[in-house]
Symmetry: C2
Subunit: 152 residues, 2 copies
């Protein structure tokens, strides 16, 4: 039940992107430098968010990324699902993903997986990106270095 580095790095990157893209597009390299993540790897993560419609890209020099919609309209759930795929703990846990499971009626544990899935989704869908950006500004004020001993 662990999140991969995709989810961990990716959420940090999105908070950074939201925070620094208000005036001009933010480049991968600047996020990578601030967040201490490999540029090449980060490229892929941001690519996933673009594919999910969370960010827009501007190509060419002085290009970069901006949010595709307001930070208060992007949930942590949107971000984590873009990065990790469905957050359901077992693939049959979501109501819409029953294909592939022929034992849906007689399966006791499915009920458990669904409850876990629901509680995770409720939590992450409620948390919005703008809250985290505000939190970020409080914890690491402009100009000060962020602390990156923690890779989470």
């Amino acid at each position: 039940m662990k999140l991969s580095t995709k989810g961990r790095y990716g959420l940090r990157a999105m908070i950074d992107l939201a925070r620094y893209s208000e005036e001009e597009p933010v480049s991968i390299s600047s996020i990578a430098a601030r967040q201490d993540i490999s540029e090449r790897y980060l490229e892929q993560l941001v690519g996933l968010m673009k594919k999910a419609g969370l960010v827009q890209s501007i190509r060419g020099a002085t290009g970069g990324y901006v949010l595709a919609r307001s930070a208060c309209e992007i949930s942590v759930g949107d971000i984590l699902r873009a990065l990790e795929g469905s957050l359901e703990p077992v693939k049959c846990a979501a109501f819409y993903s029953e294909e592939g499971c022929m034992a849906s009626d007689g399966c006791v544990t499915k009920y458990v997986w669904q409850k876990i899935n629901e509680s995770i989704n409720e939590t992450v869908n409620r948390m919005m990106l703008d809250e985290l950006v505000r939190e970020s500004r409080t914890l690491n004020p402009e100009g000060e270095l962020e602390n990156h001993k923690c890779n989470a």
Copy 2:
């Protein structure tokens, strides 16, 4: 954010064990047969639950396993944590596991991981094994074959 086969098989095994161990100890081989899980693998899973104090073993012929306490005192959380280790999505998410993370103060995402962790634990700690046993009897009455096309 997926549960491994340990968690999936193990919970099914525990429901089975609870259901069939009321009169006499249940052997690994009988659980394995009913639940269609490899005996050798199941041994290891039940070993984890023993280590966690959820089941007691009786060695020798006619031996097997019984619950170490009443099914209504064993939560799904107890079982899943015994099998999977902590369910926290990121290793810094639990309040008691801050060691190893030096950035606890300036870490924005930690707040997110803690919220997810809390919601998962609340859900799984609330669900008790006896409920699932009752559910199991309803869905798969005694004597009828269980459906095992689904490996969840």
